[in-house]
């Protein structure tokens, strides 16, 4: 039965552990501006309203079927063009967004928004062609051909449309499974090409931009601004990080069968301002590894020894990591992630880790202030990593530690009543959950059932 076993094992009539006053690792106080999800959504919404207002201001009447269709086409076109810029900005690895909204949430927004943009674009294309066809008294196919062949920048726009439809098609879950993540990821970069190709026709044929200098300038500012963000944060900042910090592998240790830790050193690492709970995208410059950048969380607070990540051998890549030689240079991007002490507002904190999700929580377990409880679940006892470290921390700061192994069954371990019993005062805790998607879902369900408010449940999941 997969029940929670406390460390150390307490007997009913057993030894009580004296709680040692909490000693925490030095806090890395996050300086720098972060953007919380709520305000960001509001900002995006305001932008959409401004874009629609542009149409409103420029349109004096909507007359007839042609008028309805053409104007519907204009609105959807404007929104699609705006949304493209927003989607690219979300993925530009802007620290304020990464730390404030959180990488996982940004990715989810981007994925949802991407599907919506493809829909908007389709609606735009169909309604504009149809509307124009009615105005010109032409058949839709003739009108479409005329538009593509004679209107300015329309060849490019057509190419952009086809690209987006293609990328939309391969991004469907079924297709992604077939072609593999790496291939999909590379193909997805063609969205940049599509955005670039489509930009021209927006200004050249967009009725709202014709003769309106201010609107044209604003559109340029939007796109150039996003391009600048991408250029800086995705291209230049990582290069600067590489040159400035010179990260390299210091040591590779085995934590458990199939689990290794990599110690990373470099120069002036405190300037990275990495916080416990965050991750980097690591590109190890060694044979077979240099062509992919994988996200791994820090498994310990950044310290004198540098940064530590812990990886479970899940695929080719992680298996090859075991053979890394010390001194290997690393091209890393980060720190990313909002799964940090910043989310905490209560004194009592519960950390729920499942499987490889222990990694960021191991770092938070050491660094978060307050009264901590860590629930660590793995399939088998041998899969529990960091046991010694976790127990040392628990003793040192008087935190509670519970393990759970074995197959899942009814009644636990993620059962509201069980959790409430294991964690007294559960509903007054801030809860951090990290683990496989299904476990995370089960845990959150149980927490909600036990009365923990949603805004005090924090989780990081990268499924999209």
């Amino acid at each position: 039965m997969a029940r929670w076993v406390p460390f150390p094992e307490k007997q009913e009539n057993g030894v009580t552990i004296t709680h040692v006053p909490s000693r925490t690792a030095p806090q890395v106080r996050s300086t720098g501006f972060v953007a919380r999800p709520g305000p960001v959504l509001v900002l995006i919404g305001l932008g959409a309203v401004a874009v629609v207002a542009l149409w409103w201001r420029d349109t004096s009447a909507v007359v007839g079927a042609a008028g309805w269709l053409t104007n519907a086409g204009r609105i959807t076109g404007l929104l699609a063009g705006y949304a493209m810029a927003v989607l690219i900005a979300l993925m530009a690895r802007v620290p304020a967004l990464e730390h404030g909204v959180g990488t996982d949430r940004l990715t989810r927004w981007h994925a949802m928004g991407g599907r919506y943009v493809v829909g908007l674009m389709t609606a735009h294309v169909l309604s504009v062609i149809w509307g124009y066809a009615i105005t010109d008294g032409q058949h839709v196919t003739d009108e479409a051909v005329t538009m593509v062949v004679t209107f300015p920048e329309m060849w490019e726009a057509t190419a952009a449309c086809l690209l987006l439809l293609g990328i939309g098609a391969i991004s469907a879950r079924a297709a992604r499974r077939r072609i593999g993540y790496e291939t999909w990821y590379l193909l997805h970069f063609y969205t940049y090409v599509a955005a670039y190709l489509a930009f021209g026709h927006q200004l050249a044929t967009g009725a709202e931009f014709a003769g309106d200098r201010a609107a044209q300038v604003a559109w340029y500012v939007l796109y150039l601004g996003v391009a600048a963000l991408v250029a800086w944060y995705r291209l230049l900042a990582p290069v600067r990080l590489f040159l400035r910090h010179r990260l390299r592998v210091a040591a590779v240790t085995a934590e458990a069968p199939g689990v290794i830790s990599i110690q990373v050193t470099g120069r002036r690492l405190e300037r990275l301002r990495a916080e416990p709970g965050q991750f980097f995208r690591w590109r190890f410059l060694a044979k077979g590894l240099w062509w992919s950048a994988n996200p791994y969380s820090l498994s310990a607070p950044p310290g004198a020894g540098g940064l530590r990540i812990t990886v479970k051998a899940l695929g080719d890549h992680s298996a090859t990591l075991a053979g890394l030689r010390p001194g290997t240079r690393i091209f890393a991007e980060g720190p990313y992630g909002a799964f940090t002490g910043r989310l905490r507002s209560r004194r009592q904190v519960l950390l729920i880790a499942g499987g490889v999700g222990i990694t960021p929580l191991r770092a938070l377990f050491e660094s978060l202030p307050g009264e901590l409880t860590l629930l660590y679940r793995a399939r088998r006892e041998a899969d529990l990593v960091f046991r010694q470290e976790l127990e040392d921390i628990a003793v040192a700061r008087g935190a509670n530690l519970h393990y759970s192994t074995g197959p899942r069954g009814p009644g636990g371990p993620f059962d509201a009543a069980v959790l409430a019993q294991v964690v007294p005062g559960l509903r007054d805790h801030d809860v951090y959950v990290c683990g496989p998607a299904e476990m995370t879902r089960a845990a959150i369900r149980a927490l909600r059932a036990a009365g923990v408010p949603r805004r005090h449940i924090h989780h990081e999941s990268f499924e999209f």
Binding site: W55, S60, V62, L120, T150, P152, A210
Partner: protein, 152 residues
């Protein structure tokens, strides 16, 4: 449930579009305001925005009023009209998109509609008419004969 969320998004967008479009007037005459200068012109004599046309030969007598550029799908169109004796005597195109073949086609199709409104033979105050050759019989039905008769 992703399907339900997708349907919701589609529905919300469709509703939003319909609302936006329905709040606009559906009648061109409702929407189109005469240029302020012209509205004044009909009663008074001082033009609010009198300016001579940018190009062309000596304009017809009267006062010329330049309209604001109007945005079309392909670019701004701006016309100046000359009002004489309370009627439109002349229409001149100051700005018309001509950046590509399509623009030129549009000019060719749209501007004559404007002209027809303005140029009835009387309001144009012409002296003679050029057209395809008429026979003696055809002449009697022609504009030229009306002009000749008026002068004879």
């Amino acid at each position: 449930m992703p399907i339900r969320r997708a349907l919701l998004a589609v529905l919300a967008t469709a509703v939003g579009l319909v609302l936006l479009l329905s709040f606009k007037p559906h009648d061109v005459s409702q929407a189109a305001q005469p240029p302020a200068a012209l509205a004044q012109k009909q009663s008074g004599t001082t033009p609010a925005q009198g300016s001579t046309p940018a190009q062309g030969t000596t304009p017809a007598q009267g006062t010329t009023v330049t309209g604001d550029p109007a945005d079309t799908r392909w670019g701004p169109v701006q016309v100046a009209i000359t009002v004489s004796g309370g009627k439109i005597a002349d229409v001149q195109v100051l700005q018309a998109p001509d950046g590509n073949r399509r623009d030129i086609e549009i000019n060719d199709a749209a501007l004559p509609i404007l002209t027809q409104e303005a140029l009835s033979a009387q309001s144009a105050q012409i002296d003679t008419v050029s057209g395809a050759t008429y026979t003696s019989e055809g002449y009697t039905r022609s504009l030229q004969s009306a002009i000749d008769r008026a002068g004879l």
